[in-house]
């Protein structure tokens, strides 16, 4: 139960998987404690966001035509918002995960990775709950005749998309958790950055592909291929575009290795620097 050497980290984490489940469960339990609607908030949150964006883009300003979305906008938005919420909520939890567990960091030893991982874990549970509603929406729009569902074997590719997204999230989450422990500015910067990030990740508005400077910059955003992959696999029945998705995978792997390495390197100083 002591700090492991680099070689047996995975072994050590395996030993602590029960703790990971317990902390994940605690996060979920605490989030919905003393709330009337409980876990339904996992659905209600992306659903109400979807309604807000649908209202904004179809009623307040007539932008759907300009958005060039080839499906009902509500479906487009929801299918982007659910994975996005998973990503953003994970990172939001990760940023504060070490700092808000100061008591555990300074008083108990276990692999510190458990803190950010449990945040990703609890956000994942919300994600799974919210995903089921996507099925309901598809049935609704299909039967209303506004859109025809095109389910195919590409659904089987979904776990791959999910793994890539989790890999990216865990890597970034570890870096953020660690950085915020040393410098509390990180969470302030993060809260602004994540807002901007949403609008350049094809979540509620498609990203520009017109060859402009902005489009080039957005092209480096690994979330665009990931979020788009959910739509193509679930709603359109096609595989994501290979180049973009491979790029996102590469970024995810680099972020995980880099993030974890830095996290490990710094973790023995957490207790005294927090």
């Amino acid at each position: 139960m002591r700090a492991a050497t680099t070689a047996n980290i995975p072994l050590e984490l395996l030993r602590y998987r029960e703790l990971l489940f317990s902390l994940t469960w605690r996060n979920i339990r605490v989030r919905y404690k003393q709330s009337l609607l409980g876990i339904s908030w996992a659905v209600l949150l992306p659903l109400s966001l979807m309604l807000v964006f649908t209202f904004v883009f179809t009623r307040a300003i007539d932008g759907v035509g300009a958005l060039k979305v080839n499906m009902p906008y509500a479906l487009y938005a929801y299918c982007g918002l659910v994975p996005w919420t998973f990503f953003a909520a994970s990172l939001n939890g990760c940023v504060n995960s070490l700092v808000s567990n100061r008591n555990l960091v300074t008083k108990v030893y276990f692999p510190r990775e458990v803190f950010p991982l449990s945040c990703v874990g609890s956000a994942f549970v919300d994600f799974c709950v919210a995903m089921t509603v996507l099925g309901g929406l598809m049935v609704y729009f299909h039967s209303a005749g506004q859109w025809s569902a095109n389910l195919s074997a590409t659904l089987l590719f979904l776990p791959v998309v999910l793994v890539v997204q989790i890999t990216l999230t865990v890597g970034l989450g570890m870096m953020l958790a660690m950085a915020n422990l040393f410098y509390r500015d990180v969470r302030q910067v993060f809260s602004v950055a994540i807002q901007l990030w949403m609008f350049v990740s094809a979540v509620v508005v498609p990203v520009p592909r017109d060859g402009s400077a902005l489009a080039t910059i957005i092209g480096f955003n690994p979330l665009v291929p990931i979020i788009s992959a959910y739509r193509t696999c679930i709603l359109e029945g096609t595989l994501p575009e290979a180049g973009g998705f491979l790029y996102a995978t590469a970024v995810a792997v680099v972020s995980l290795i880099g993030g974890w390495f830095c996290f490990r390197k710094a973790s023995h100083r957490f207790a005294e620097c927090i």
Partner: protein
């Protein structure tokens, strides 16, 4: 040394003092100063060595206490053993499943119920869910919280909180258990149960490391102790001797700053001053450290500017600032001293000081028996340390004996592992009280 459960090999641990750039602006400013050469890499007084070159080994099984004054490095040592901190120099090794109880209920979540927190905290301490499930009843029973199991812990009293926290940790069944000063919470009955539980764990083969300020409790559980002083090992050996060492050291620290105690500076009308109070044992050797049954001589040396006839001398003893435990006045014994100018010596002989373990302080007062004027009054600054080997709690340590069915009961030596010879066993069978 494969036999050792824990090993500290020339360990030093350094902490930074002060806030080290907590925001990016500070960091940028610091980086700029570094680049321009305005800031030294590390000023020597910005760091603090909490432990300096500490080495010890703890064999498998048995209980070891770590004692020492505040800031001696006890908690740092424990956190290094637990893997929470990492040493700058040296190596810390531990073999086996290790559980650290550094704060009771660390990791409890206020909004969760007692039951939920048992599972959470159990997992934090390294138990599996299945393990916790089988031990749940026992944990709840030990904590005495059957009725409150499904109440959020935020509604618990601090005692209930502490009982639950200790109860969970006591059920981890680790190979090595580190306990830091957590038994000061809870009522006396619960404390006794905790001590019993720790002894039980040690009997069952757990290696226990116990950090505490409660020397009596430490002695009742541990057979060996390490005294840390200012980050260094000051003593390592049998618990009883460690306590003596520590008490003597503490007393010296106390006498170095007598203003901490009641009284203020010595008052006198210029007629004289106390040069010193020496505590002597039966052999006439100066000591501050005594057993309750030892004969004590308090020798007062004082200087007078003129001779005083019928000088009355009073010695008072206190354990705290407020109340005298002993007040002996020569006048009440109809003893007066016809003193001379210059240095005089008065000695009070006590056949015993039947007090419980602790630090005590004397003061001296003198009157002119004719005029009634106060000649000298000192603060309570002359120390005596009593160690009754943990036999009595409360204020006094009286001679006593036990009998059973009218026959004197004999004393069992219950610590066969005790390496030190038990000298002069004080429980006087048959001497009666």
């Amino acid at each position: 040394m494969s036999e050792a459960a824990l090993c500290f090999d020339h360990v030093s641990k350094r902490f930074r003092l002060g806030e080290t750039h907590d925001s990016l602006v500070d960091l940028a400013a610091y980086a700029f100063r570094r680049v321009t050469g305005a800031a030294p890499r590390q000023s020597p007084d910005s760091t603090f060595w909490a432990l300096r070159d500490v080495s010890f080994e703890v064999p498998r099984g048995g209980a070891t206490g770590i004692i020492g004054p505040n800031g001696a490095g006890k908690s740092t040592a424990l956190k290094l053993l637990a893997g929470i901190l990492r040493a700058e120099r040296g190596e810390v090794r531990a073999s086996g499943r290790l559980a650290a109880l550094i704060e009771v209920g660390a990791g409890f979540h206020a909004d969760l119920t007692g039951r939920e927190n048992i599972f959470l905290n159990g997992a934090i301490l390294g138990m599996t869910r299945a393990e916790i499930r089988t031990k749940l009843d026992s944990i709840v029973e030990f904590a005495g919280l059957e009725r409150f199991l499904d109440t959020p812990v935020k509604r618990y009293s601090s005692g209930m909180y502490a009982r639950l926290g200790f109860s969970i940790a006591a059920h981890v069944d680790p190979d090595i258990l580190l306990v830091d000063e957590v038994l000061s919470v809870g009522d006396a009955v619960f404390r006794l149960r905790c001590e019993e539980r720790m002894r039980q764990l040690v009997r069952d083969g757990t290696t226990l490391i116990f950090v505490t300020h409660n020397l009596e409790q430490m002695q009742s559980i541990c057979d060996r102790a390490i005294v840390l002083e200012e980050g260094r090992t000051a003593f390592d050996g049998p618990a009883r001797e460690a306590v003596s060492h520590y008490m003597t050291a503490m007393t010296h620290a106390y006498t170095a700053r007598p203003a901490d105690l009641a009284g203020g500076d010595a008052q006198h009308d210029g007629a004289g001053e106390v040069l010193g109070v020496r505590i002597l044992d039966r052999a006439g050797k100066e000591t501050v450290w005594l057993r309750p049954r030892d004969e004590v001589r308090a020798e007062v040396r004082f200087k007078l500017v003129r001779p005083i006839e019928k000088l009355t001398v009073e010695l008072n003893l206190r354990a705290s600032a407020s109340e005298n435990l002993i007040s002996i006045n020569s006048g009440r014994d109809n003893v007066f001293f016809d003193t001379r100018e210059g240095v005089n010596t008065v000695t009070l002989v006590l056949p015993a000081m039947p007090l419980a373990s602790g630090r005590y302080f004397w003061n001296v007062r003198m009157w002119d028996g004719v005029s009634g004027d106060t000649v000298i009054e000192t603060p309570f600054k002359y120390p005596t340390v009593i160690d009754d080997e943990g036999r009595a709690t409360g204020a006094l340590s009286l001679d006593h004996a036990w009998s059973y069915d009218g026959a004197a009961a004999s004393q069992v030596v219950d610590t066969p592992a005790e390496p030190a010879p038990i000298e002069a066993a004080p429980a006087q069978c048959g001497s009666g009280t």
